[in-house]
């Protein structure tokens, strides 16, 4: 193999698995260290820089970081990254003085954001400090988008939403509530805005057209029903409720039902558990509340009698599953399951009835707008999309990242600069060596197991719909959980020309990451390392030829615990522990024309 080119920022970035997996590239190890030092406010601000809504995301993020976490490859459970984010938010001091401010002198550019969800709010967050005038149009009387209407208050309290949205509107965004945009043409024709950002979400719940669908009013569309619950339009449900679908919306529907009078809630899944779309932790929370999840049942029809819903017919299925794929399906028979309400939670899609088809914005055959994946620009240059509106339903953290990227594009577009030319990512490395055996980070491996977040009791939590179930870590539990972080941003950096091949690093490495061997093609190298490198998603760090024998030092990044013992036992300092700081440019980092930054 060629020596690894660590001058590309992506190499060391990938080693920080959590940060690499996070769409917004939150600097997780840094904020966890700040929590460990008790500096919750600084930890909150590190979060806010990339993910904008630490308090919200610390409760309801889909946490792509956790399945990626290296700790999960060493023992079973990853670091509770998401809930540590929440503790930073819970324990922070007043951050008002630390927030970005809009300058008194505006830059004269006006931006319209459609929908007050996470994507639009992020655009506003990034552009207001640059002197833009940002107007946000929201159809409802409150801001937040699906974070407000579709995530139940027992998971995400309104207070948290209000506070973090307030930080953005407080910078001077012109938030126009109860103001749906009914025609994009009219908005564009008004020429009041230099650019438009569409962050209107994917608001249309999927239908299930089966016999009997229209014979009763007790069949509800999941996201619409959750919205009615959120606004208090729906405050009760029948005793027996069937939820169709087994994604995260289904989990919110079943748990909401239990708080509105349902006694028996069944979630009906077409496929076996391994194919569920819901996150494992959301399934756990629902099952803890006694929700029954029934697999291998495909809906066949709704059974009604004189407008009254009696129940549903299902086909019982059997699958041959091999290698994570369904090879064959058989029908075993039909079964009737009685119920009083049915909630359909089988997905959602984009809907833009207010965008005229002839104004220059192209859509594909599924009515999804054609949007550039880097710039988020539509086929009409001044109109940008982000969040679920751009590529269909994802989750909040993706919306935030879309918002950041769209803000860069808008910033460049408004200054007549090409939106494709974007500042590249950067990476800074600095040694953490303090002395012979001292590192400027806590390198000791702590074997403590993942801490459990305390929950409100199973009786208490059902008393009101807005009792937040998760209590968040106590400071004591958090103090233990932070020690589980492996500091993956403390990079092992190797200087081949210094190595005397004494094997000290290889002998001391607790997880057998290191090997000195003859060079060869990657597949062969992987097979003959001290511990075979079978995880191909993790890179091999291959050195230049070593001075004495011409062999190479190979590090399998897979399960390195970043304890620094290789560097500590190295007599020539060929290994060093260096902190990597990844610079992900935001709008404020881009140098544009006459920008008053």
């Amino acid at each position: 193999m060629e020596p690894t080119d660590t001058s590309k920022p992506d190499y060391f970035h990938r080693v920080v698995d959590c940060q690499w997996a996070c769409p917004a590239h939150t600097d997780v190890p840094e904020y966890i260290r700040l929590i460990a030092q008790g500096d919750f406010t600084a930890a909150y601000m590190v979060n806010r820089e990339s993910n904008v809504f630490p308090g919200i995301l610390g409760r309801v993020c889909d946490r792509p970081c956790e399945p990626a976490c290296r700790r999960g490859r060493i023992e079973e459970k990853p670091v509770a990254i998401c809930r540590l984010k929440r503790i930073a938010a819970d324990h922070r001091d007043d951050v008002a003085a630390l927030l970005p401010k809009a300058p008194a002198q505006k830059n004269g550019k006006r931006i319209a954001c459609i929908g007050a969800g996470p994507a639009s709010l992020t655009v506003a967050n990034d552009l207001l400090p640059l002197g833009y005038a940002v107007t946000i149009f929201e159809q409802y009387a409150v801001a937040g988008g699906l974070m407000r209407t579709n995530i139940p208050a027992f998971r995400l309290p309104a207070r948290v939403l209000d506070e973090e949205i307030g930080y953005i509107t407080g910078m001077g965004a012109d938030l126009r509530l109860n103001t749906p945009v009914r025609s994009l043409r009219r908005l564009l024709d008004s020429q009041a805005y230099d650019a438009v950002f569409v962050g209107s979400g994917a608001p249309k719940g999927k239908e299930l057209e089966l016999p009997g669908r229209n014979d009763t009013d007790r069949i509800h569309i999941g996201i619409d029903w959750l919205e009615s619950v959120a606004f208090g339009h729906v405050d009760r449900v029948g005793e027996r409720v069937l939820i169709i679908g087994v994604g995260n919306t289904a989990m919110d529907c079943c748990r909401s039902s239990l708080r509105l009078g349902a006694r028996q809630v069944k979630v009906m899944a077409r496929k076996p558990r391994q194919f569920f779309k819901a996150s494992e932790w959301e399934l756990e929370d629902a099952e803890q509340e006694n929700v029954e999840i029934i697999v291998n049942h495909a809906p066949k029809s709704f059974v009604t009698e004189g407008g009254r819903l009696l129940g549903m017919m299902f086909e019982q299925l059997e699958y041959d599953v091999d290698g994570g794929e369904i090879r064959a399906t058989r029908t075993l028979g039909e079964v009737f399951i009685p119920c009083d309400d049915v909630i359909l939670a089988i997905g959602q899609e984009n809907a833009f009835p207010w965008i005229e088809k002839d104004i220059g914005i192209d859509f594909d055959q599924w009515s999804v707008p054609k949007v550039n994946k880097t710039t988020f620009q539509s086929t009409l240059p001044g109109v940008f999309f982000g969040g679920d509106a751009a590529f269909g339903p994802k989750n909040i953290i993706w919306s935030v990242e879309h918002g950041h990227q769209a803000a860069i594009s808008i910033h460049k577009y408004c200054h007549d600069e090409p939106v494709e030319e974007r500042m590249p990512r950067g990476l800074k490395l600095s040694s953490r060596k303090m002395g012979m055996h001292e590192w400027a980070y806590k390198n000791e491996y702590n074997g403590v197991e993942r801490r459990l977040v305390p929950h409100v009791g199973l009786v208490e939590r059902f008393k009101k719909i807005d009792i937040e179930v998760e209590l968040g870590f106590t400071a004591e539990e958090a103090a233990l959980e932070v020690q589980r972080c492996l500091n993956c941003d403390m990079q092992t950096v190797f200087a081949a020309k210094l190595c005397i091949e004494c094997d000290a690093c290889i002998d001391i490495c607790p997880v057998d990451c290191l090997t000195i061997t003859a060079n060869g093609p990657e597949a062969r190298l992987r097979a003959r390392l001290t511990a075979p490198a079978t995880n191909r998603t993790q890179a091999l760090y291959v050195s230049a030829a070593l001075p004495q024998t011409g062999r190479v030092m190979v590090k399998d990044e897979d399960v390195c615990v970043h304890c620094g013992l290789c560097a500590e036992r190295c007599p020539t300092a060929a290994w060093d522990m260096q902190k990597s700081t990844i610079n992900i440019p935001n709008a404020i980092d881009e140098q544009v024309g006459t920008c008053p930054v």
């Binding site: 005397i500 094997d503 004495q548 399960v559 615990v561």
Partner: protein, 352 residues
């Protein structure tokens, strides 16, 4: 020296041996030697070898004297028996322990100071008695603990860190052992685990004293230009004459060598050593030829490494020589070990 201990966490795919133990469970306490010391690599090789032999930790006895090398017994197999003797006296302790309990496996770790200066008389007699043990010398040519004076194995012309040139002729432990009739003599290098681990395994299974001289550079006092025991010099002047593979009992010989290339030497416990000659003129079973070969190469500044001499047919092993009972003393009933006054009187009567 490290301020944190090596974490207990291990690679998830770390294999276990027949006892269900991982290599990590054969480790000892954290090394306090200088970072980069060759001895730490020897320690790692001993750990690997013991793990590979499926050795029960409590079946191992590790003995040493005084010196950097003698510290290393603390760094492997924490569950083994151990004895740190007076300087240069490890061989006596090993002989005594071995006489009392022949059922255990003995590793003595010593250095060029401990074994070639103060303890050379002890080493000589341990070889002569053919004590059933692995005697491993971590040889770096300097007294590291007293800051780098030349030791008895320093070569003529080698330079000390401060520039002095050595003029006294060295004692080569391999030549010494060959002269004294040792039945297993090997030389290796701390930086070559592929060679060292099977040698340690074969040495532990050898019936008699197995001496391995391991060139183990002193990173602090003898790793500079002009030194003949530095990492760089050793790598340039090291000449493997023979490759040895250790094959445990009841294991098929999996390596497929061309016929005539390898010699199989059976060991008394059913295991075997597969020897592969890298130099066709070399015969490891011929002691005098081996001596001549090693000596001529040493004169050319070449360290010959590998299993230099092996004689599994020698019948002069310590216990056989002294007609000791087959059973370790602690397994013999007290009445038999100490037959009482009457038996003593009868014995004494014979001399009257």
């Amino acid at each position: 020296m490290s301020y944190i201990n090596k974490p207990k966490v291990a690679h998830p795919s770390l294999p276990t041996n027949k006892l269900g133990l991982t290599r990590r469970q054969y480790e000892g306490s954290m090394s306090t030697l200088c970072a980069g010391c060759g001895h730490d690599s020897v320690t790692a090789s001993i750990i690997e070898a013991c793990w590979g032999l499926d050795l029960k930790p409590e079946q191992l006895v590790k003995l040493s004297g005084i010196g950097c090398s003698s510290k290393t017994t603390a760094y492997f197999v924490a569950g083994a028996h151990g004895f740190n003797s007076v300087h240069g006296r490890m061989a006596s302790i090993a002989s005594g322990a071995n006489a009392a309990n022949r059922g255990l496996t003995y590793i003595g770790v010593s250095g060029d100071g401990d074994s070639l200066s103060i303890g050379v008389g002890q080493l000589v007699h341990a070889i002569r008695r053919n004590v059933n043990m692995l005697y491993l010398i971590e040889n770096n040519g300097v007294y590291g603990l007293t800051k780098g004076q030349f030791s008895a194995s320093a070569d003529i012309g080698t330079k000390a860190k401060r520039g002095d040139v050595n003029v006294s002729p060295p004692i080569d432990p391999v030549l010494l052992a060959l002269t004294l009739g040792a039945t297993f003599v090997a030389r290796s290098f701390s930086g070559d685990k592929a060679q060292l681990v099977p040698l340690i395994q074969a040495g532990m299974r050898h019936n008699g004293l197995a001496l391995i001289d391991v060139l183990s550079p002193c990173v602090t006092f003898n790793d500079h230009e002009g030194s003949t025991k530095s990492y760089a010099f050793t790598r340039e002047h090291y000449h493997a004459a023979i490759e040895a593979d250790f094959v445990p009992p009841a294991e098929e010989i999996a390596v497929d060598y061309a016929a005539g290339e390898t010699t199989r030497v059976g060991m008394h416990d059913g295991s075997s050593v597969l020897l592969r000659k890298l130099d066709p003129d070399y015969d490891p079973t011929d002691r005098s030829a081996a001596y001549r070969y090693i000596e001529s190469k040493l004169r050319q500044n070449e360290y010959v490494t590998g299993l230099i001499h092996i004689d599994e047919n020698d019948t002069t092993e310590f216990h056989k020589l002294n007609r000791t009972p087959d059973e370790p003393l602690n397994g013999i009933p007290f009445e038999k070990l100490s037959p009482g006054r009457a038996a003593l009187d009868a014995l004494m009567g014979k001399f009257r």
